[in-house]
């Protein structure tokens, strides 16, 4: 017990803060995939992404920004994307949809450029895995924008699996197994949430994809 108290006491405050931000991220990410309505989904997942960014920032403050800079950029990109999509879907006008589509195309272009650079700079034997990461992340962004409840959930599962395999949680790329528990939990929460959603979905009364008003 004394050892545990000593261990916690010796942890950097920023590191503890990162863990709290991580738990909040898990909560919001799990919640978001239970929501069918796109407007609310983007708001909740956007808040999740925001705390995800805070988590990387806090880890950076605890361990040094150099290792976290790219993750802070990636999570900021997710936060902005989700909140912009939230605004676009909330307005639901021809103009907002047009802006949303242009924004989506810009997001895809950014992801393509960033992903291609990563693939090119990666060791030859693991390029395929980085390419897979790029493809699944772009698919996820498109899936988020597409109508209906299925595309976003299917694409996020593939994306989360690839992130689990390629990023900090299970860094299989170079044989460097770091076991970032929080990172694993965040990605797993998305996958579990999708599974829970489909269990609930299978049980509920079947309603059409679009709801027309009663006369």
């Amino acid at each position: 017990m004394n050892n545990l108290i000593y261990t916690i006491g010796s942890l950097d405050n920023w590191f503890l803060f990162a863990q709290i931000a991580g738990v909040i991220t898990i909560t919001f990410e799990f919640w978001s995939y239970q929501i069918k309505d796109k407007v609310r989904y983007f708001l909740i997942t956007g808040i999740g992404s925001f705390f995800w960014m805070i988590m990387f920032f806090a880890i950076g403050m605890a361990t040094g920004m150099a290792t976290q800079a790219s993750l802070i950029v990636a999570s900021s990109y997710s936060t902005i994307r989700n909140l912009v999509f939230h605004g676009i879907f909330k307005k639901n006008t021809a103009e907002s949809k047009e802006k949303g589509l242009i924004f989506l195309l810009v997001m895809i272009a950014v992801a393509l450029i960033a992903g291609s650079l990563t693939v090119v700079n990666a060791p030859a034997e693991v390029r395929w895995l980085h390419a897979l990461g790029m493809i699944t992340s772009i698919s996820f962004v498109i899936g988020q924008y597409l109508p209906g409840v299925h595309y976003v959930r299917i694409t996020v599962v593939f994306y989360a699996v690839v992130v689990l395999l390629t990023q900090t949680p299970l860094n299989i790329l170079y044989g460097d197994f770091r076991w970032n528990i929080m990172g694993m939990m965040i990605e797993s929460s998305k996958i579990i949430s999708v599974i829970v959603f489909y269990i609930r979905y299978a049980r509920e009364e079947k309603k059409p994809q679009i709801q027309l008003a009663k006369p």
């Binding site: 021809a94 949809k97 195309l105 006369p215």
Partner: protein, 293 residues
């Protein structure tokens, strides 16, 4: 008995107008943006949609009836001592209602004993069509002008209109969607599902392929109508999509176990200019007698 008048946004054919005794004030359409033709008078539906189908890149323009067109339509009935109920396409979509307002104001002094009830349908096409049909039924059943107006306004509040289009280019030309949406949507073969609600158009969903769009509307419509089968009127309208319309209607009839008389109509030139060939529209509303006091 009062006279029923509507602009051609109601999609009545000449035959339907004659059968239901509705005077239709035509919109104008133009292919060259210089010479305007009166809908149903100077150009028939068939000729119009033949040109749209065969001449790629042809995007006609429409123009609302002028106040004088309405004055010319109203005057003979007023002279005959008849009151009028006049329904226009949504004022959010066209200036037709504004023209009718000017005409009514102009004629008020000349015919102080006559009443012209002017209704902004805040609707169009199939929605306006169904409402007009109910108005003519009320007139033929001997309801008073004021009771007919009250119920017509109730129907218009409750009416639901949905449609889908095949070619996004027409929506783009009409400013209903942006150029990027039209381009990407065209490449992906997307069919938007649109609703006309409270006078304005909005998008409900986007689906790949017309077949899927129709399936989605069909499922949603059956779900929405399943408890109201006895009390509703239902109509499908289309441009050169007779087979799709017939299939849709058959499926809905079977699913709801109901029989609907004359459910299929045709979209007119005015709305057709903004949707293009291949469009299908759907509307339903409660029958007028459910609103009787």
């Amino acid at each position: 008995m009062f006279q029923v008048i509507s602009d051609s946004g109601c999609d009545f054919t000449k035959e339907e107008a004659g059968e239901h005794n509705v005077h239709v004030v035509p919109f104008y359409v133009s292919f060259d943006h210089e010479n305007y033709l009166k809908e149903g008078v100077d150009i028939t539906r068939d000729d119009y949609f033949d040109r749209l189908t065969n001449e790629k890149g042809l995007f006609p323009k429409t123009s609302q009836p002028s106040p004088q067109d309405y004055i010319d339509a109203y005057t003979p009935y007023l002279k005959d001592g008849k009151d009028i109920i006049s329904v226009t396409i949504s004022s959010e979509l066209s200036g037709s209602h504004a023209s009718a307002v000017i005409a009514v104001d102009t004629l008020k002094e000349e015919y102080p004993d006559r009443t012209i009830v002017l209704i902004d349908s805040r609707n169009a096409s199939v929605g306006q069509y169904l409402t007009l049909k109910e108005i003519t039924k009320m007139r033929d059943a001997g309801l008073s002008l004021s009771e007919t107006e009250r119920i017509a306004r109730e129907i218009l509040k409750a009416i639901r209109v949905y449609f889908t289009v095949e070619n996004l280019e027409y929506l783009k030309r009409g400013g209903r969607i942006g150029p990027t949406t039209a381009l990407i949507g065209g490449i992906l073969g997307l069919c938007p599902i649109l609703q006309l609600s409270d006078g304005t158009l909005s998008q409900l969903d986007n689906v790949r392929g017309k077949k899927n769009a129709l399936k989605l509307i069909e499922e949603a419509m059956v779900y929405a109508l399943k408890d109201e089968v006895e009390n509703i009127n239902f109509v499908i309208s289309h441009i050169r999509s007779e087979k799709d319309a017939a299939n849709f209607f058959d499926n809905v009839e079977k699913a709801l176990n109901m029989k609907i008389a004359n459910p299929i109509s045709g979209i007119g030139l005015t709305i057709g200019a903004h949707t293009g060939p291949g469009a299908l529209a759907f509307a339903y509303c409660k029958k007028y007698d459910t609103f009787l006091s």
